[in-house]
């Protein structure tokens, strides 16, 4: 797809950059000066023990931390060299461009069709019913869900199985034509078969969208990502190619974690 090639800009530098990001919850510092680049042609995984701040950091990229009253973010995060925390940035558009998939599948209690169509509709991405239907079908196809739901688009999204619901949520994020997709432990509530399908889907989507996935499942990080960042106590301990992190970690803390010494 040509637009994806243009906007995705594969091999044309990072899609998103974070420099010296700190996040505070009141007095507590949850993220301590993290810098990272996110590219479109690779999947980036954030791993680390519970409470290490990986989800907090992920939520900086689409400013979901804004909804937490006590949260304060400093540092510099850019999407295509545009500062997303600048006053000129419209946070609503930012969240359309940087989509998010949550830990627990959270489809709207509406029909499958409405779940997908809602985003394009509020952003005015479709000029008519037929175009909207096209977007819905394309999104569901990209999410690998079309064949399972094409005959039951009017049924409520909440009636699907957990794995299908999560793929519906991914399709919902895709439908607003995002540039980046953030996934916050997308498989932690799913069974192994559903997990495998979502992982397969992430692999299919690589290159079209910049994908960041937070996971506490190290095998999953090894399977789906090309770059891995290991977080511990609010710091990014190590960042590099996934293969290197898992086979030849430089830091002892990383090594201890991936070999199961703590976490």
């Amino acid at each position: 797809m040509i637009e994806a090639g243009l906007s995705g800009g594969s091999n044309s530098g990072p899609k998103m950059t974070a420099r010296d990001v700190h996040v505070f919850y009141g007095e507590k510092e949850a993220i301590r000066g993290v810098s990272i680049d996110i590219t479109t042609d690779e999947v980036t995984a954030f791993i680390g023990p519970s409470g290490c701040g990986k989800s907090t950091f992920l939520r900086c990229f689409n400013r979901m931390n804004d909804t937490v009253a006590s949260a304060r973010v400093t540092g510099d995060i850019r999407l295509d060299s545009e500062d997303i925390y600048s006053p000129e940035m419209d946070v609503v558009q930012l969240r359309a461009r940087v989509g998010m998939v949550f830990q627990k599948p959270n489809p709207f209690p509406k029909s499958i069709f409405e779940n997908i169509a809602y985003g394009p509709r509020i952003h005015g991405l479709a000029s008519g019913r037929s175009e909207l239907e096209g977007i819905v079908e394309q999104s569901l196809q990209r999410a690998g869900l079309w064949n399972e739901v094409k005959d039951r688009l009017a049924e409520p999204g909440t009636a699907l199985s957990g794995g299908q619901q999560q793929r519906l949520c991914i399709a919902r994020a895709i439908a607003v034509d995002p540039e980046v997709i953030l996934m916050d432990e997308p498989c932690s509530a799913l069974d192994p078969i559903a997990t495998a399908k979502v992982e397969e889907l992430i692999d299919d989507l690589r290159g079209r969208y910049a994908i960041v996935i937070v996971t506490h499942n190290m095998q999953q990080a090894a399977r789906v990502s090309q770059k891995t960042a290991f977080f511990h106590l609010g710091e990014m301990v190590e960042y590099g190619a996934t293969r290197d992190i898992f086979t030849n970690p430089r830091e002892t803390r990383t090594k201890d974690y991936i070999t199961g010494r703590y976490g």
Binding site: T67, R95, R97, M100, F102, P109, G119, R172, A175
Partner: protein, 436 residues
């Protein structure tokens, strides 16, 4: 690591060996028996509490229905009436509707009363209204003679319903021996019948029980509830949305929250005083009008709706807000496309329960003058009106014996109305509730 821990804490002099627990010992059995006993006690107490509550309810409903069902029946007496133009004071020729309307219909009863003066105590003083209705509907009746069923007085009505003890001494009885004789005679002639009392449902207040009806009060109540709902629902829901979805958590919002909770617990008569002071004295709004009653009740219902709406909004899972925000919905879109529709069944339930409470409220309405004696239903929001619970209060005060059954009858209507509202609330909850 765990193996090492056990090895370190192994048998030593400091830790005495624990003897095996005997689960069948006498002490253990006694403990089990005591546990069963206390469970049985608790269940018995629960059943007893329920039985007492149920007995009270049955007693309450039983007495009301026993007294009240008679209000829906009314005795009538058959009387021969000649629609005499001269008695009506109508000129010869074809009279216009205006003339028909102003005819002196009470005079038509004069021949009946001349034949038997006792009939004056048998036929209600308002019975002529039916004669006028008949003539207005069919002017051809003029000059003819018909047998007409006319409303009986309350005393004759009570006699027919067996509400008067005939064996009591005449001096202690409301009805004289002469009237009883007349009643029995009419009965023998087949000129008495007891049928459904439409007057009770369509009429308004009256000084005589047999003509009194609840329509005026019911309409007043309905007009008032419209005002209450129209004001309290949107204001309450929007206030709840703001407090729940927008307002920052700080000292001011805490104060507002505490104030709303306290307001919900303020005795209703205080709201009546407020209505009197603000709406009548300061704003100069009409006394006894449904609009003022509705505004006063809206003040009273508002905190109830705010609290119910906030609880309903709170019960919408945050994951739905995240989902909508995550695809770039604005906060207004999140609230109006997702959160509010999902909370609406809960909000409606709370609102209906609040409105049902307002519908049964008497005290604040007394303060703003809605206890006037009105023989007509209100025509608008600014016309003098009364309300159903106030009408019940007024009738319960009336000395005429016939109002006892009217009071209970009005209570039945009010209870049915409240039950219908609650049924709607339950239906809405079951129909539209979304489960996660």
């Amino acid at each position: 690591m765990t193996d090492a821990g056990i090895a370190l804490a192994g048998p030593g002099p400091a830790v005495p060996a624990r003897t095996a627990t005997d689960w069948k010992s006498a002490a253990m059995r006694a403990r089990v028996r005591a546990r069963y006993r206390s469970e049985q006690w608790f269940r018995a107490l629960g059943v007893l509490a329920l039985a007492i509550a149920g007995a009270f309810l049955l007693f309450l409903l039983g007495t009301i229905v026993r007294d009240g069902w008679r209000a829906f029946q009314q005795t009538e007496i058959e009387v021969p009436i000649r629609f005499d133009r001269a008695l009506l004071g109508l000129p010869e020729g074809k009279p216009g509707p205006q003339q028909l309307q102003s005819g002196d219909y009470a005079n038509l009863l004069d021949p009946v009363l001349a034949a038997n003066p006792g009939m004056g105590r048998a036929i209600s003083e308002g019975a002529w209204v039916r004669l006028r209705t008949m003539v207005m509907k069919d002017p051809a009746l003029l000059g003819q003679e018909r047998k007409v069923w006319l409303t009986a007085t309350s005393n004759f009505d009570l006699l027919a319903k067996g509400s008067i003890d005939r064996t009591a001494d005449e001096a202690d009885r409301r009805v004289s021996d002469r009237d009883i004789a007349l009643f029995d005679q009419l009965g023998r002639e087949g000129r008495l019948r007891t049928g459904f009392n439409w007057q009770f449902l369509t009429g308004s207040d009256s000084t005589v029980p047999e003509l009194a009806g609840i329509w005026g009060a019911l309409k007043g109540s309905l007009l008032m509830i419209l005002v209450t709902l129209g004001l309290a629902f949107p204001v309450g829901v929007l206030a709840a949305v703001y407090l729940e979805e927008y307002a920052p958590r700080n000292r001011w919002t805490d104060i507002v929250e505490v104030s709303i909770n306290n307001l919900a617990a303020v005795p209703s008569i205080i709201f009546g005083l407020l209505g009197l002071a603000v709406f009548l004295n300061v704003l100069g709004m009409p006394r006894s009008a449904p609009v003022v009653g509705g505004l006063t009740l809206a003040l009273m219902t508002l905190p109830v709706i705010v609290i119910a709406a906030r609880a309903a909004l709170k019960s919408v899972p945050p994951s739905i807000r995240d989902a909508a925000l995550g695809i770039g919905a604005s906060r207004v879109q999140v609230v109006f496309h997702h959160v509010l529709p999902l909370a609406l069944p809960g909000i409606m339930t709370g609102t209906i329960i609040g409105v049902a409470r307002a519908l049964g409220e008497t005290a604040p309405l007394l303060m703003i003058g809605m206890r006037a004696f009105l023989t007509d239903a209100p025509d608008g929001f600014d016309q003098p009106a009364t309300a159903l619970p106030v009408q019940i209060f007024i009738w319960s005060d009336n000395v005429a014996r016939g109002f006892v059954e009217k009071t209970s009858g009005a209570i039945i209507v009010l209870l049915l109305l409240l039950m219908a509202l609650n049924a709607i609330a339950i239906w809405l909850r079951n129909r539209y509730e979304v489960r996660w």
